[in-house]
Symmetry: D2
Subunit: 345 residues, 4 copies
Amino acid sequence: MIYFQCDYAEGCHPAILEALQRTNMEQTPGYGLDDHCERARAKVRAACGRPDADVHFLVGGTQANTTVISSILRHHQGVISADAGHIATHETGAIEATGHKVLALPSVDGTITAEQVEALCKEHFNSPIKEHTVQPGMVYISFPTESGTLYSKARLAALKAVCDAYGLPLFIDGARLGYGLMSPACDLTLEDIASLCDVFYIGGTKCGALFGEAVVITGEALKKDFRYAIKQRGGMLAKGRLLGIQFDTLLSNGLYFDICRRAVEQALALRQAFMDKDVAMWGNSFTNQQFPILSATQMKYLTQCGYVYEVWGPADAGRTIVRFCTSWATRPENIEKLIADIKAM
Amino acid sequence: MIYFQCDYAEGCHPAILEALQRTNMEQTPGYGLDDHCERARAKVRAACGRPDADVHFLVGGTQANTTVISSILRHHQGVISADAGHIATHETGAIEATGHKVLALPSVDGTITAEQVEALCKEHFNSPIKEHTVQPGMVYISFPTESGTLYSKARLAALKAVCDAYGLPLFIDGARLGYGLMSPACDLTLEDIASLCDVFYIGGTKCGALFGEAVVITGEALKKDFRYAIKQRGGMLAKGRLLGIQFDTLLSNGLYFDICRRAVEQALALRQAFMDKDVAMWGNSFTNQQFPILSATQMKYLTQCGYVYEVWGPADAGRTIVRFCTSWATRPENIEKLIADIKAM
Amino acid sequence: MIYFQCDYAEGCHPAILEALQRTNMEQTPGYGLDDHCERARAKVRAACGRPDADVHFLVGGTQANTTVISSILRHHQGVISADAGHIATHETGAIEATGHKVLALPSVDGTITAEQVEALCKEHFNSPIKEHTVQPGMVYISFPTESGTLYSKARLAALKAVCDAYGLPLFIDGARLGYGLMSPACDLTLEDIASLCDVFYIGGTKCGALFGEAVVITGEALKKDFRYAIKQRGGMLAKGRLLGIQFDTLLSNGLYFDICRRAVEQALALRQAFMDKDVAMWGNSFTNQQFPILSATQMKYLTQCGYVYEVWGPADAGRTIVRFCTSWATRPENIEKLIADIKAM
Amino acid sequence: MIYFQCDYAEGCHPAILEALQRTNMEQTPGYGLDDHCERARAKVRAACGRPDADVHFLVGGTQANTTVISSILRHHQGVISADAGHIATHETGAIEATGHKVLALPSVDGTITAEQVEALCKEHFNSPIKEHTVQPGMVYISFPTESGTLYSKARLAALKAVCDAYGLPLFIDGARLGYGLMSPACDLTLEDIASLCDVFYIGGTKCGALFGEAVVITGEALKKDFRYAIKQRGGMLAKGRLLGIQFDTLLSNGLYFDICRRAVEQALALRQAFMDKDVAMWGNSFTNQQFPILSATQMKYLTQCGYVYEVWGPADAGRTIVRFCTSWATRPENIEKLIADIKAM
C-alpha cells in the first residue's frame, strides 16, 4: 500500500536522524536552554528577517495553538477563527478547555476576510450589552488553511490592519507553512508572514521533522512570560534540544524550503493528472493537499491500485471528495505510478 | 564538564536511535494507531502482568500528569499529593489550570501515608460544611519520589486500601519508575505496581528514551474516553509511532530494567564514596539520585574537577544539599573518576 | 415612560415582600439549610409530582446554567444547544469558562429537534477520529425559547428519547417556565416537564420573584455532590432562606401560575392588537414576549406615546423586529392604553 | 434558641426592607444600570474619598472573590493568600476552578506580612527555573481576617509597598469590613483602605444587607472590562437595582457604620464577660467575632441556656474554641442575657 492519506506518515528527513545520531551522547541543559536550541533560534530569526523575534519550540500543533492562544487572551475574551479552522473543529475543545470560546466565522474556502473580522468587532463593541457576549481578543488563521488555500499578501495585510485597529493580535497556524510558502500561487515570503502577524509557527511535524513547531513571536506585548505558558500546558520538553537539533537542521542550507517545494510540485502534478482526466477538484488548493472529487468507481479503482487516501466528505451526484497529500517524504516513483494510474482510471 | 545534574542530559539509548533509523521511511497511520504502538502496548501489558490494561503513550511528565488527573476528577474535586509532589511544586499550576486544586499533605521524605489520606478524607466527609471545601477525588504519588525515596509494598498496599475505601483512584507518577524498581531497597515488582494502583506510568524520558511516558490504566472506570483527554491536552502526537518504537525497544529483552539497574548501581557507588568520606546524605535515597550535604569547600573542589551537579537547597552549618544523578547514559569511566575525586576531596 | 422592554423591570410580587418582612428577624441557619427552603423544596416536589427530586435554589439564570452544565460534563464533553440558546449567545462564554464547548445546532425558531441531536451524535460516535472532536455530553434547551416558542409534548418526548438513547442528560432552562406552561399553545404540564428531562429550573427572576431559580434534578445520576458545584460557582447564598421564602410564596395557592397566566393573556391581547393592525409578527410566540415587525413610523409613534420596548433586529423593507414583554407586574391599565395606541397607530 | 453562630442569621436592616417596599413597582433598566445603583455608586465613592473609583455590586463573597481574582490574573499566575484565607479554605476551589493556584502563606493569626510576600517574590523571580512554578500575580487579604484580626495602617502600607514593588495588585476581602473599621483596635479609615489597595469590597451580606458586596476598584489597570467578568462568572443580577437600593440605604446617614459599631461594642462586652470569668480567648479579635476557649461543662451550660454558637476547633486540655458572633441584628436584651449567663457559668 502507498499512503497519500496525510503528510505525517513517515518519520523524518534523514538529515535530522543523522543529526540526532551525531549529537546523541552530548550532555546539555534541559528545557530548551541548550546551544542547539539557541542556534536554531538564531536561524529562525534570520530566516524571518526579525532579529527581535522570540522563538520557542513546541512539540505539536494542538499544543502550540493552545499555548499561544491561552497565553494571549484574558478570561472574558475569545479567539476569532474560520469555522473550518483546526481549533474550531479538530482539537477536542482544547481552546475551550483553557476557558475561551472560539468565535467561528463562516468560511467557504477556509479563509476569513478583513471585512468579516471588522463586522464582528463593530457589532460587538457597538453593542449596548456587549458585556453579555464574549469579547473578541485575537484572530487565528491557518496558512495554508486546512483545505490548502492561501491568503494573498494583500488579503493578509488587510486582515492585519483590521486586527491592529481593534487591538487584536493576529496568530497564524503554520502547521503546513512550508507547503504554503513554496506554492507557485503564494505571493508571500517568510519575512512577509513574520511582519504581517504578531505570532505564528513554522510547522515541523508535517514538513520534515519527527515532530515540532517553531513558534515565532514578533508582537512585543506577547513575549513576556511565554515560557510559563509552555510549561503549564505540558509543552516544555525535558530534552528540549531534540527540537533545536531538528530546526537547526531544517533551516540549514534551505532544506526546509527545498523539501516543501518538491512536495508541492508533486501535488500539482497530481492535480494536473486528475484535471486532465476531467476529475473536478474541490476547493482551490495549490499546496501539498489535493482534493479530487471521485466517483465510487474511481475510488474503488485507486484503492485496488494500492493507494490509501483520505475520505474528506460527500459531493454531489454520489461522488466523494477525497484527499491526496504529498510531503517531504513522497517518493518520485510513487508519484509517477499514481499519475499513470490516474491516466488509466 | 561532566554532567551529573539531571537524568535527561543526553539523547537516548542507541538501540532506540537504531530502531528509529530502521523504521524511518515506513508509512503508518498517525496518532498512536500504528503497529509499533500496538506491539509496544502488548509488551507493556505483558511486563505488568495485566492483559486487561489500557496503555497510552504520552510525550512528557507534566503532560501525563495533567491528562490523567483532569480525566479522572469532576469539577469540584481535587487531587491529594505530597507537598513536595511534582504536581504541587514544579508544573506551573498545570493541574489548577485544568480547574482542580492540589490538596497538599505535609511530607518529610516525599511520601505520604495511608493514615494521612484517611485523616483528610474523614475530616472532609464528616464535615457539616464539606461542600464549602474541595472534595478529595484521587491520590497522586511519585515512585520513586522527587527525593528518591520509595514506598514499600506494605505501605503502598495500605495506601491503596484507604483509597479503595474512599473511592479514590490512586495514580503513580513513574517518571523514574525504572530507577525505583531496580533499587536494592525496593520490594515491589512492576506487577505489584500495576496491581496496587489504578493508573501509573512507566517513565521513558529519564530512563533511556528520547521522550515519552507509557500510561497504564488498570482501573476499569478510568479507561473510557482517555484518548479524548490526550487530544484535548495537546498530547496526541501525529507521528505516534515514535513513542511506540521507543517503548517497543525499551521493553525488548529487558533493556529498560538493565539500564536502570546499572544506573542505580552507579548511584549507590557514589553514595558509598560520599559516606566513606564522612559526607552526610540528605534523605534516604537508594535510587539514581543522591543528595550529599557538602561544605562550600567541597562544592568548590568538585566544581573545579569539572562536575556539574544540582544545588538542591541549604543545610545547616553553611553546608548545601546538592544532587548527583546517574542515568542509563552515565559512563562508567566518569563514575570511576568521580569516586576517585570524592576520595581525594 | 412605560416599560415593555423586558420582564424584569420591577421588583417582586407584593406577597413576597410581605413574606420577607414577616420573617425578617427570624434566625435561621445559612446556605439553604433552613426551614423556609425545606418547605419550598417540598412544594416544588409536589408541584412537579416528583417526591424523589432534588431541589436547589440559585440566584440567577447564567449562574444556574453554568452550575448545572459544569456539574454534569466531563472535561472532554460539550453541551448541545440551539445556536440561539442563551448559553450560546448571551452569557459571555460562561460555559466555555468552565472548560466546555457549546455545540451549537442551527435553529430557525429557537428550538432544536430530536433528529438534529441524533444526527450530531451519529456523526460523532461513528467518526473514526471522534476523539479529535468534542464529545456531546448533554443537551440544553430553553422552554420557552429565547424567542418565545414552545416544544410540544411530542417533540419534547422525542428529544428525551434520543437523549436517553445516547446517554445524554437533558437540561431545560426554564427562566420563563411559567409563561410557557401558561400559554394556551402549550400542551405540557409541570409534571410533564419534570418527567421529560433530567434537570430543569423554575424561573423566579422573571416570574414574580426578586431573583432566584429553583433547580429541579430528577436524573438520579446528577444529584450527587450538586451543593459542591453551587458553592464553587459562587451561587451558595449565605442567607439562602431568601430564596426559600420566595419560592414558598410563589408556590402557595398557585400564585406562580396565576401571575404568569395573566401576563400571557396580556401578551396575547397585544399580539391580537398588532395583528388587527396588519402588523406582521416575527416568529411564533404565544408566551409573554411578542415580536411585532414595525416600520420606522410605527416605532417613532409608539416611542412618542411613552413606551419603551426592545429593538430585536432588522427585518425587510426597512422595518424592525421589536420586543414587547409583559410580566407578572404589568398593569392592566397600561395594556389597555397600549392596545388603544396600537389601534390609533 | 438564640443564635450567636454567625453574622448572617437574620434578614436585613429594616430600612432596607422599607426601601425595597417603597421602590418595588418602579420600572428600571436591568443589570446595574439603573439610578439606584448610580446613586449608591456615588455614595460609595464619596465614602471612600475616591471619586475616580469604579464601583460594582455583586451578590456574595465567593462570587466577588472569584470574579475579582480571575479578572486580574493571567493564566500562569496565582494569588498569594494566608493559608487561613477564605479563598484558600472555604470556597470549594472556586479560584482553582478559574484556572489559578492559591499560593498559601503560613499564618498564625490570619494575616500575612510584607516580609512574607517579599520573600516569596524574591524566591520566585530569582529562581533559574521560575517558569516551572506559578508566578505570583496578586495578593489577597481579608480585613478583618477570618479570625477577626486586623492589619494596622503601618502593616497595610508596608504590604502595599511590597505589592507595588513587584507589580502585584492588592485585593482586600471586606466581607466584614464594617466590623473591622468600627473596632476600637483599628487605626484605618475607609479612605485609608481605598488608598492602600487596588481593589476591595464593602461587605453587605454580613453587615445589614439581605445580600451584596460593593466592589471598589481604584487601581486604574484593573477597571477595564470588569463587567464582562461579572457576567461571565454569573454575578450580573437582572434586577441589579436590588443591590443599588441596599447600598444606597446602608450608606445614607452613616447607617452602615452605626450598625457595625454597635455590633462590635456588643462583641467586646461579651469578650470582657468571658475574660472576667477567666475564660481564655483564642487569637486576638477586637471585632464582631469572639472566640472563647470553653470547657465541655461550659459549652454544655451555654447550650442549655439556649445559645447556638459555632464550634471552631479543639484547644488544649480537652477544651474547645467556639465562636460567638454579633451582628447589626443582635438584640441588646440577648447580649444582656448572655453576659448574665456567662457570669453565672
